[in-house]
Symmetry: C2
Subunit: 338 residues, 2 copies
């Protein structure tokens, strides 16, 4: 529970954040990340101010040039007059290391703290799950009036798929060669990608990589037809064939084209009334994560604090029942669904 004093402090931080105070934003982010009660209080308070930012998820293996690409994207967005917020979930990223660390980033130029706000999540063992924490941080940055929010992750695991349910556009970066790297993330890659970037386009094998991805997309379209039910786990846009763009994030080659693909995708979402569908997937997943965490807390309290549980454990020790049977009994007795 949060004390009245703390509520007042949080309310004041929210006002300051809304007025553009980035230090207040940083403190709210820390609270949201580390304290689930505070997160619930803060999200309730700021929820009405969210929904204005355009959220872009970016993933790629270490060495794919992801950070350079993000640097270049930041430049483009800032030059277009946008405020940019970044959540770096990748622990290997040069963006990692704490809040407001403009100086630690290998940026090509310095941005004003009012234009670019970077938040790193160093600790992947976040309370209530990495996805929960990331999605709440994005909401805070959204309420802090950022126009664009970039979520940087590494690879495509279960958490990343959940995270990308918050993104409007999800970008996956691959590079020529490294067949194995695609193999490794293949399982999830087709379910989440809206735009493929083949970075380091001047390396040998760039066109081959494009061809590889195209044939994976061909295969995937067949799969889609035969699995009408999979829309629940798929975060990429239905009916949109992900375009593939070759870039060089260092020289900036094709970056403008890449940015206009993001705009094209946004336009597609709006014109095909898919924004609401995105929101449905996103909020269903968020509610699921919150409920899972709340139930974990409830079950821990039951097992460790309810003295009635002792007699169940004693039955296991006496070998009258095994742990699975006892778990079923406890479930039936103490937890009712429906």
């Amino acid at each position: 529970m949060i004390t009245e004093d703390n509520k007042e402090r949080i309310d004041s931080l929210i006002s300051k954040m809304r007025a553009g105070n980035q230090r207040a934003t940083g403190r709210l982010l820390t609270l949201v990340e580390n304290n689930l009660d505070a997160a619930a209080y803060i999200i309730k308070k700021i929820y009405e101010f969210t929904g204005n930012a355009y959220i872009i998820g970016i993933t790629g293996a270490p060495g794919s040039g992801k950070s350079s690409l993000i640097n270049t994207m930041i430049e483009k967005f800032v030059d277009a007059g946008k405020r940019v917020g970044i959540v770096a979930v990748d622990p290997t990223s040069p963006f990692s290391g704490g809040a407001l660390l403009g100086d630690r980033i290998r940026m090509k130029r310095n941005f004003s703290i009012n234009d670019v706000f970077i938040r790193s999540m160093a600790n992947r063992g976040q309370l209530g799950g990495l996805a929960r924490a990331t999605k709440d941080l994005v909401k805070v940055l959204d309420a802090a009036q950022n126009d664009i929010i970039l979520i940087e992750t590494v690879g495509v695991g279960q958490s990343e798929v959940e995270i990308f349910k918050s993104a409007h556009t999800t970008v996956v970066i691959v590079i020529p060669g490294l067949g194995d790297e695609i193999q490794a993330i293949k399982a999830g890659i087709m379910e989440i990608t809206d735009i493929f970037v083949v970075n380091k386009m001047d390396f040998a094998g760039a066109d081959q990589k494009v061809a590889e991805l195209e044939s994976m997309l061909d295969l995937n379209e067949k799969y889609e037809v035969s699995n009408p039910d999979h829309s629940l786990i798929v975060t990429r846009t239905q009916g949109w064939r992900p375009p593939i763009i070759k870039t060089n994030a260092i020289t900036g080659k094709n970056i403008d084209k890449f940015i206009s693909l993001i705009e094209k995708h946004k336009k597609y979402l709006i014109e095909n009334n898919q924004m609401e569908n995105k929101l449905k997937i996103k909020y269903r997943s968020e509610v699921l994560e919150i409920l899972k965490f709340r139930m974990t807390q409830n079950i821990e309290a039951l097992i460790y604090k309810n003295p009635e549980i002792n007699q169940y454990i004693d039955k296991i020790i006496a070998k009258e029942k095994d742990p699975y049977s006892i778990s079923e009994e406890i479930l039936l007795k103490f937890i009712h669904m429906g």
Copy 2:
């Protein structure tokens, strides 16, 4: 659910395992690891045959000589006429790579498959959690009439602490130097250790490492007194001050002394009636893991399959309510505890 056919197949595997067929043991282990319904069925069936093995947990950082120490322990136990089962949870371990892989291990000598059975858990993303899977594998190896079961893990994270709730004796290996390595695992180290091994005893700083551990133990005894409630999260033996033994796993120096410390600890557990206390901690934790997983499944079914949930998600999209408030409403409406 498991079909009647599969039940028959499993029943037959259990009979074969009980008759000493190690291939049947391997197949049961795979089922238990990868299929929760099968795990529940198998554990129910074999539970009456468990409780005879002595379970030893061993953890240490990569490079601490853990594998050499385990090799040497296996030799000693086999020479004493024991059957040994090993569950290797450490993905960096030379023991890793699949079942029955005697040939892949850098063992000093070859053991009969009837004497030593090694099972590696390559995939840490186990269904229902790593700790759940590990503890169930240990039960199968126990029912397969192994006298000693070694659980090898790396480091001391949350999963490892849960895993060691299954062990009678937990051994932590450290080496001279590497102050940081102790720092890194310090948070959990005092809560789980029954015996400290300072391996590579001939390296400079071995005595200093022993002194360091002794002073940590002194501090810890004070902590213990002031925290009567912490017995629930602590897996090491109450009232037992962990001895510290210097070893050289390569030359075998002090290994006999180390083995007799394990025997001394076992004797302490029995003479002080702490075996039952160990079991209470262990089964409470197992029931907790099973319930958490079952509830996760139930909540996923609720959120993705119950059409009533749509109206809740719609309220979030319409900005009438935020995800936290809606989660609370769903919790109140659909899940009743107590």
